[in-house]
Symmetry: D4
Subunit: 223 residues, 8 copies
């Protein structure tokens, strides 16, 4: 098995260097629970196999962000992510729309991920439903987007409201922002799954990364 060219064995991990061939997207380093050295090692391995396009690591600790930066990667401290290699040309626009300032890290992870996966990005922040004029004030930016990633915690109402205004694909991201009966994002997750606006799908709590990969694939399918 060690001879399988589709897999690079680093001892502590078996890197799937064939994924871009199968799915169009390189593997991404999920940094949670990995040491800074492991993050850098996998990132470099992926970069060697994909020298012409940025590869990415997410959910990095401060130490891993520092190590990645020292290894030549670009780091995004809000998104807690790092990229290595040149960004691809942006095609189309994913609007990353978020409800409150506390949702910023998830929105930033989504925005960076979409860029790494080839999409242009428009970031629209702090347009929660309790101040509807803020949302209606950015109506034109929503209309210009080819796909929407909508990020919200607490009651998670933003995707329903936005979903009634637009006809492009919408990926909803519940966040763990809230307390008490938010139960770590469960309230927002359930709300989004029960949205009365059609054409909305949902990813895991705080999973800005997954939403953006889907959004980028949606845009790519239209190229």
């Amino acid at each position: 098995m060690t001879d399988d060219p589709r897999t690079e064995d680093l001892g502590f991990a078996r890197v799937d260097v064939d994924r871009a061939t199968r799915t169009g997207d390189a593997e991404v380093v999920y940094g949670a629970g990995k040491t800074p050295a492991q993050v850098v090692s996998i990132l470099r391995t992926l970069h060697e196999h994909h020298p012409d396009r940025a590869v990415m690591a997410t959910r990095l600790s401060d130490e891993a962000l520092h190590a990645a930066e020292a290894a030549g990667a670009e780091v995004d401290r809000v998104a807690r992510a790092a990229t290595l290699g040149p960004m691809p040309t942006a095609r189309g626009t994913v609007a990353v729309v978020s409800a409150g300032t506390s949702d910023a890290p998830v929105a930033a992870e989504a925005a960076l991920t979409a860029r790494v996966h080839g999409a242009g990005v428009d970031v629209v922040t702090d347009v929660g439903v309790a101040g509807l004029h803020r949302l209606l004030g950015v109506r034109d930016r929503l209309d210009r987007a080819d796909c929407l990633v909508v990020v919200a915690g607490m009651e998670g109402a933003l995707p329903s409201v936005v979903g009634g205004l637009v006809g492009v694909p919408l990926v909803a991201v519940p966040t763990s922002v809230g307390y008490g009966a938010s139960f770590g994002g469960l309230a927002a997750l359930l709300a989004m799954l029960n949205s009365c606006a059609p054409g909305i799908a949902v990813v895991n709590i705080d999973n800005g990364f997954g939403a953006a990969v889907l959004a980028a694939r949606i845009l790519r399918s239209r190229a």
Copy 2:
């Protein structure tokens, strides 16, 4: 204890005929699990103690509605409720705002309850957040109300949106409308408890009655 004038003992129930003195509102017959004969008997007892104002029974079966009607009560088949005695003069306006047509029974229970407890009522239906123009089209009616009861199932987003538009007290009622991950109204309940709009409080799932009692008390407090 049978001599306590604050309680009327019917054998199968001890009716709290003192409640209006203590709280300003007569006891209401909660019909679930009671026979038609029991409903009528309690309703009559309450009517005898409060001949000058309507008393009420809720959550009635078809049989109990029929029996109540035969006993001279007014029945509201959508609300599944009956009243006996003259309606009080309406003071102020509670707007009962609901998201979808399936929420009608809960909204109707709230509207009738508010009337029985002395409030005027304006019923605004089918203004779910996925068609924002429907809600914005009734903005003036929201502004005219002294208190709002907002009824919604599924993702339960309506109270958050309405709560950002008005400054009067708002009581939110989650309904069990929905399926799958709505978990019998839990999704809407959690969403409303986590609303980012301040000044919203929530009652039990499908409890249009309780929300309207509170709304009527709020209006009464301003008389």
Copy 3:
């Protein structure tokens, strides 16, 4: 407000006849809790406003299916849905992939919905992960699709396996098929939300309709 041309008031419901203008898709009749007469009435209203393209009613009882058929609609008894008006030209292909025979109603609802919303459909059934050769035997059909709707109950593993094979957008639909610790589809829902394959989003339990609307929008965005 009765003069708002964006809404048609039928007394028991306010039909949003403006939705196609806003979002590109006509409103769809959600039949659960509606009488056969109400279903037919709303379906006709929508058809009058959209005579050139099929409109749709879902979650129909046997009685509502019968009434819709008598009113000239096409009915799909597996999907429990009816359509009125000519189907649009199919553009692109949504593969509706399901795990077991019990998932058929949800898959059928998804397939019909995708067609009504303008997508071509390839239906792939009974390819659960416990018989991997069945799934690998349809690999070429997965590869030919522009978007995938993957339907599964019980442990909900199919989207993860399919998601590792393809690079097109994938919408996962958990179903309530199962018993005991499936908790009405919760097990499949949680599994899909936690998929280790990137680029997967999830809709509510048994919501074939919602998944297909999103899939059709994804395809439309590429036209």
Copy 4:
């Protein structure tokens, strides 16, 4: 959008300086997850737009409390909150009633919030239902209040008992006080939602702020 006078853009947040016009209440700084500098900056911005009435920040860390005090704000260390600007004249009385000493922070947040929003406050502490004479001993204070905010953790029984004694609006606040099967306040939340006393509505666990905003609006509506 930067020209919208209803919003002040601080870079890290878009402050809704129009809220008082829309709803009668200025925006409040929710301090959780914000740096002391951010808290002070938003508080000052709000103060500049509302120089004649106190603005408020809640859920402050020790550092944020210190920074707010250094910036000229009044701080309430039990409530973990700060105010800037002159308190409004008190109109009417909200009784903030709490069950145990551990509920003090939530009760203090409610009391301060009610004052900032224009209500007079009477704080009644440590009247849990297991010592009924303590509650009955303050009966007159309950009777004098125009609205009640009732705060309790553990089994959350206090609102039901108080709700049977009074006829004014009652807002119930479950707290996370408890252990084991209290599940972070869930037990108290469910108890309050199921109260057999009519006219009670509930806010999120530990949300003294939200309960008090509603209470203040109730009093204001009677002015």
Copy 5:
């Protein structure tokens, strides 16, 4: 094993005829899921082994109640239970206290069970906490009891209030009375487990039987 005198093998069940020797109480027939014939057969077997004291069957269907009556048993239709054989002499008093009329079946099961197990019983009904005067009106009966079984649904507050008034052992029984966020009695169960009054223990939802067995053992231990 068929020779074990401690067990009587009826083919469909192995009756534990030794239990009274081990624990002082005969086995009781739990009727749910058993046919009327099986109920009668086990009841007779137990009666033969304990001719001098009543044996008991609970959770009986209408058919099983009828069959038991035909077989010479006494039936209690509210409690849905039957007894065969002479009642033991009553020693001491268990007060069975319940909150609402809907709790009657559980209270009746508790009362009958306590009698069968040798305790005297005082049944106190309809003393829910929202009408405190009803509870305080029976204070003397609470004080005379040697042990309390307190039955309540909805918010389950009654044991906490009663538990603060008395010093004798108190067994709390949550009932499934309620709707929505009562979640089949879960709300009352959690409330009782979190009671702030010390010396309270709780049995399963609707388990009047189990509470009464414990209460009778408590009384017996004092003989």
Copy 6:
């Protein structure tokens, strides 16, 4: 109210010095969330009102244990509790039976509480059901007890097994010992509530205190 002799107001807490008169047991200091100084202050107040019998504080931090010791109290470091004043004469025997070594703190809290409340105690440890011979080896000690407090975490099976062997009252205490699907003691709690052995009641997770108060009252009722 400050003149009410049934309550001593310490500023930060209102001590219920009347409880012993009402219920036979003095109030106990629940130390969680209280400062060492507060614990000592309340303990002293209670001691002054009950000089002839030990008063008690539970759930103490290391600091509070130290402060209590310095103030003349006896401390039990396993139970994390302190007592002040002479122990009452022991009457009868409560057997505190626990399943595993990790349950020791809860068992110790129960044992000390039972002693403070007047019961004699026999502590039986480490007799989990997976080594039945250990349990059967202490059968005689179980038989000699007047009441049992049975403490177990993980699957919580011990009360069912013990409950089938004895006929005296049994109070079950689930503990939070376990991991994964024990969900903080929920598994043991549910198991105990569903015990097939009759005559078992359950207290909150880790609530050795509450179980022992009930056990002591049971013994006292037999004096």
Copy 7:
């Protein structure tokens, strides 16, 4: 794909006729949600491919049991299952041990499944832990078994007790027998997952079939 000899396409289902080659066991018809005609059709197809060994259908309705019997199958009405073809020679012994009479259907499904999959079976019923002598009375039968399937509802304690007595593999089956806080078998499931006896694994609630397949494979591995 229709040419794949590993799959037989019946139109309404694709039968995996290759499973015995891959895993040693033929596919089994899961009857829930299938018509009697479908059950018979699949059973016959499987029988044609495996004429020398019994094939099986489970979870059959009364109608499906009748149809299967008419088609020549053997039916087991307690297990709600049918078999077609000759039983294999029994090798080794699986003891199917159950706690109460209500667990009989699940135990019967397990016993029949084990036989169909080649194991000998010893059925031990009604040995719940609250009557330990019944369990200890069958100790020798437990000791003679090569593998144990232990079936229990309510508190699910039986596997822990049995697991401490034996050293052979033990598969635990929680059942939905119980009420209230059993939550449809969840209590028993959690208890079994948290068993303190090592070497126990658990299957889904009421899944006697799955447990027996595993048990038969365990025995087969030793042949």
Copy 8:
């Protein structure tokens, strides 16, 4: 009782030195919540009673690993476990198959436990279902195993896929790897319990130990 030769009393614990006689396996030290000294003391006691075969301690802190090593034990830092005494001869092969690198600690605990209990082990890592070629690349190793322990977090799909490929007994271990809606491993646990592949049983979240004891017993039964 101190004379019972089946139990060794260490003061802080009663060691079950008879377990190997009863079940074939010596007791294992569960290190969570024990001091390093306690771990070493119990390990030595077990070693004295079983000098000819390795005894084991699991869930060790860094300090306990260090203390065990100093006491002559072998330590496995990934598994957080220690063994004392000679490993038994390996009979048969348990394949420990895991999905991702984060599952390594659980897989290592399973592997070491299987060895201590007499099985040979083949460790197969990082073969998650989203890269099916990795799993199919080790197909021959799966086929050679006598029993499988399959370890996975997140969506827990691996046992279903593996279970469709093999016919030997399979024990599934959900891990707590994941975030958000994984709810600490609950998603993986539910998925595994609902596996559509027959012959799979499940142990507690992260319980590699328990799965391996069962696997070793399965192999031993075939000797």
